[in-house]
């Protein structure tokens, strides 16, 4: 073997000595000269900057990852227990392209209801996905392939990665009114007008609950009206549900918008993620589902979703899916999970209240009628920059605050800093 290696090296160097330009023009220039540095991701780039900051006062209210009251990441007890049960497993074989069947079954129950007739009738085409991002991307690619003339209507504002996803899937994007800066609430009239004016049969992206980044959700009554108008216009509703359980503390309540649409007869699509509500961020576990006409169509659509997944990653990762199905498949663990989700949601709701009270005490004019992990503070990019440079507080430049990063330890500091940079405006 050493001889062979020597032979290779000798032949290579012999050729170098000949006048072939191996280290000539090829290495001076590069194939990559036209590659520009990509801009930093507006969300994930914030955490990078935060980690690099040496200040002891620094606060990260950027990325939406839950923190406990000490600002530490949390692994749920139900997750730890599930991991204990599956560690050193004897199974590491490829999952099917559609992922873990058990995990998908449990996940559909969460979204469609434990006793959903659609599940019983096998009308839902569903595959395990790479968390919410992967589910949205698979759907966008599916939409491009099978409804190539369609566009996607995206709310203003939305999670920035939504734009990247539908863009890379090459589906043209349109927007619809959502956030009303003056009231810091929902621009319901604007939304309904846009829904009405869109061509019949348009595709709409809806946040099922805890809108990201604003934290502003329609009321139940508003959802019913939206659903009725969607029916009249024959629009397709695609729900991104990344915070089920996390918004109100009650998963059934957080799925209300979806249940309304299902009752009204819509055939919807749903992206579900366990990143936040089970704290499985890095495991990348989620599910894409599409409600179809009948079982036969569901089988067909599922086969096509798998066809899209195969050249992207072949089959999805196992570990996170095993955690989910272990928890949801065991009544005790599931019950523990529901308790822990409520604890997380309650802490966030509590922090919201504390932050609002602190700001009100300081005389701040900002209002805080939001829900979920995020809220739109109304801060301008320049005010955000000041928060970072003067107070070492990190958030995305659209003024979105991740309440999960707020603790009893830093809420006073945060309120004060926000008041300082906004009081003159």
């Amino acid at each position: 073997m050493a001889m062979m290696a020597m032979t290779i090296r000798n032949s290579a160097s012999r050729r170098t000595m000949m006048s072939r330009p191996i280290f000539g023009s090829r290495s001076m220039s590069s194939w990559w000269k036209n590659v520009e540095p990509a801009p930093k991701d507006p969300i994930l780039g914030v955490t990078e900057a935060f980690l690099a900051d040496p200040s002891p006062d620094k606060v990260n209210v950027g990325v939406g990852a839950y923190r406990d009251d000490n600002g530490k990441p949390v692994v749920l007890d139900c997750v730890r227990e599930a991991e204990r049960r599956i560690a050193g497993t004897s199974f590491m074989e490829y999952l099917p392209m559609g992922g873990s069947v058990k995990m998908v079954e449990e996940t559909l129950k969460l979204a469609y209801g434990d006793n959903s007739q659609f599940i019983k009738d096998k009308r839902i085409a569903a595959v395990q996905s790479l968390s919410g991002t992967g589910a949205c991307r698979l759907f966008a690619d599916f939409q491009k392939r099978f409804c190539p003339a369609s566009q996607i209507y995206i709310p203003v504002p939305t999670w920035s990665n939504h734009h990247n996803i539908w863009r890379d899937a090459q589906v043209p994007q349109k927007t619809y009114h959502y956030y009303h800066p003056e009231t810091k609430g929902l621009d319901f009239k604007g939304l309904m007008d846009d829904v009405k004016n869109a061509p019949e049969g348009s595709f709409f992206l809806l946040h099922a609950c805890a809108h990201n980044p604003t934290g502003v959700d329609p009321t139940e009554e508003q959802w019913r009206e939206i659903s009725q108008l969607f029916k009249a216009k024959k629009h397709f509703a695609f729900f991104d549900m990344a915070y089920q359980g996390f918004a109100s503390g009650d998963p059934a309540r957080d799925a209300k918008s979806i249940r309304i649409f299902l009752e009204d007869g819509h055939h919807i699509g749903i992206s579900q993620s366990y990143a936040k509500n089970m704290g499985l961020y890095g495991q990348r576990v989620g599910c894409l589902s599409v409600l179809c006409e009948d079982e036969k169509q569901a089988v067909t659509v599922k086969s096509q979703l798998q066809q899209l997944a195969r050249p992207m990653y072949s089959n999805p990762p196992l570990h996170g899916a095993q955690i989910v199905s272990t928890i949801l498949g065991d009544p005790e663990l599931k019950s523990l999970w529901l308790k822990e989700v409520k604890i997380m949601a309650d802490r966030i709701i509590g922090m919201r209240t504390t932050l609002r009270d602190s700001l009100e005490k300081l005389g701040s004019p900002l209002s805080w009628e939001h829900i979920g992990m995020f809220c739109y503070s109304g801060l301008t990019p320049e005010q955000v920059d000041r928060l970072t440079s003067e107070y070492h507080i990190y958030m995305t430049r659209n003024g979105r605050i991740s309440m999960a990063g707020v603790t009893t330890g830093n809420v006073g500091y945060l309120a004060n800093a926000i008041h300082e940079v906004t009081k003159s405006s």
Binding site: M1, I8, R15, I22, F23, R26, M28, S29, S30, W32, K33, V35, E36, P37, D41, L44, E48, A65, P73, V74, V75, R80, E83, R84, A87, T89, S90, F91, M92, E93, Y94, P96, M97, L130, T133, G134, R145, F146, P148, A149, N161, D168, K234, F236, H267, A275, G282, Q297, V299, T300, V301, S303, L308, P311, M312, Y313, S314, N315, H319, G320
Partner: protein, 467 residues
């Protein structure tokens, strides 16, 4: 039909509200029917007779064909015959034909559990410790391209995901450039480049006459490709043939690629698994690195660490400068973000833990040698069985010359079908068998099946088979 005449009479009555779909068919100018191979009929255009049921947007969607590789396992599962043998997908099996989770992997998982690692998002590029480790395994620790920071490494979703990231980069920055893939190659390569919209063509590789490498054809086709093409190469243990170039042939391949200013693109899915040695199996990649070329390498830990289900791999882009590598890395991240945001952490941690601990690393190397060793032994046993049972004088030595998990048997589709239909041996229709799924105990049975299929399959079919 009664229903049809009812429909037309409804229309003629001018009642526009009953069949809204029909009325709007003209307004929705889709204009894509016929050009989209995935659609049987236009989206939205179905007219329903029953007004109460909303017509589906997905009417025109046809059933996707079963995956030629993964579909084999599904068919195998459905077979109730007790003699059945699954030589389809390339997943390692023990002599008892059980899946094998490496001991080091179990150890690493238990360690991770004890440590109570958190589950936070990884950065888009993946786990830093894993990225460092994987590049060092590939090029050798301390290699100049690593020391000089000329490699852009991103954790990817195993081999598939890593290939897809690179394909998307090619599509974005090398508009019109073509990828040359070997004939044959792993089936999913074509899907990946198709979905990434990168054009591809084939270079000659497998010679059915010798059941070996068509080296002259390979070199000629690489030479003929337009300058600046991407050449997809299997680093070791070619899938599906098991036929690798010799070291001398690799040198010539590197020569012609440099001559034509092509960009090599390695798929390394079996490092350590082919010969049993990580370094030996990386020789082809290291040869190219020595030449100072810029190239891609996709890696997978599915087979060599048995981490199939955890989807752990990497895409490496060797650039001529650290600056280029930084820029390329940033653009790879930009492709990954709208695909899955950031990669799964579990598999990455396992790899980093195993390689980062000297004792575990040595244990891994021993387990890998054991797996590769079992395959070599089974190859020998299969060859011996074939030679002792087949009296036709056919040369079966190609089985010993091939390397890695797979063997290209030279069986055509009809013969492969016979293997399955008559002998319940499941394999892919291109004649590929996975030796990882073969036990010593089954070698004789398999030899019987191969000999029968090779000599007699065509006789079992009434109509001549297109080869």
């Amino acid at each position: 039909l009664v229903i049809d005449s009812m429909a037309s009479s409804m229309l003629s009555l001018g009642s526009t509200s009953l069949l809204p779909r029909e009325i709007n068919k003209d307004k929705l100018k889709l204009g894509t029917s016929g050009s989209n191979p995935f659609l049987k009929a236009k989206c939205f255009s179905r007219v329903t007779m029953s007004v109460a049921v909303k017509p589906s947007r997905f009417e025109g969607i046809t059933m996707a064909p079963p995956d030629p590789i993964l579909g084999v396992s599904e068919a195998f599962k459905a077979d109730t015959n007790e003699l059945k043998l699954n030589l389809g997908v390339g997943a390692y099996r023990t002599e008892e034909l059980q899946p094998y989770v490496l001991n080091v992997v179990k150890k690493a998982e238990n360690l991770m559990l004890e440590r109570g690692d958190n589950k936070e998002y990884l950065p888009i590029e993946g786990l830093a410790a894993f990225n460092k480790t994987t590049a060092e395994l590939l090029f050798g620790a301390g290699h100049p391209v690593i020391k000089e920071q000329k490699v852009a490494t991103i954790q990817g979703l195993s081999g598939t995901g890593s290939l897809r990231l690179a394909a998307a980069l090619i599509e974005r920055y090398f508009a019109g450039a073509k990828v040359l893939i070997s004939a044959p190659t792993w089936g999913n390569h074509k899907n990946i480049f198709n979905d990434a919209k990168v054009p591809w063509s084939e270079y000659r590789y497998y010679d059915p006459k010798t059941i070996g490498l068509d080296f002259e054809g390979m070199i000629a086709d690489i030479k003929e490709a337009p300058e600046g093409s991407f050449i997809l190469l299997h680093g070791c243990a070619h899938n599906p043939t098991g036929i690798d170039p010799t070291p001398e042939q690799w040198v010539k391949i590197a020569d012609v690629i440099q001559e034509k200013n092509h960009i090599p693109f390695f798929d390394v899915a079996y490092q350590g698994f082919a010969s049993g040695s990580l370094d030996e199996d990386a020789a082809s990649v290291r040869l190219f690195a020595e030449r100072g070329m810029e190239f891609f390498v996709a890696q997978s830990y599915s087979k060599n660490l048995g981490l199939y289900a955890e989807r752990i791999g990497a895409i490496n882009v060797v650039c001529s400068s650290a600056d280029a590598a930084t820029r390329v890395k940033s653009q790879l991240k930009r492709i990954a973000r709208p695909m899955y945001s950031n990669p799964p952490v579990h598999g990455a941690r396992i790899v980093a833990n195993v390689v980062g601990d000297a004792a575990m690393f040595n244990e891994w190397k021993a387990e890998m040698e054991m797996m590769a060793g079992r395959i070599k032994t089974v190859r020998q046993q299969l060859y011996d069985s074939l030679v002792s049972k087949d009296k036709s004088g056919k040369d079966w030595s190609f089985i010993l010359k091939q390397i890695g998990m797979f063997s290209f048997t030279g069986l055509n589709k009809a013969q492969s079908d016979n293997m399955t239909d008559k002998w319940h041996v499941y394999m892919t229709k291109d004649g590929r068998i996975s030796l990882a799924g073969l036990s010593m105990a089954k070698c004789e049975y398999l030899a019987d099946a191969i000999i029968d299929s090779y000599h007699n399959a065509l006789l079992y079919w009434e109509t001549p088979i297109e080869l």
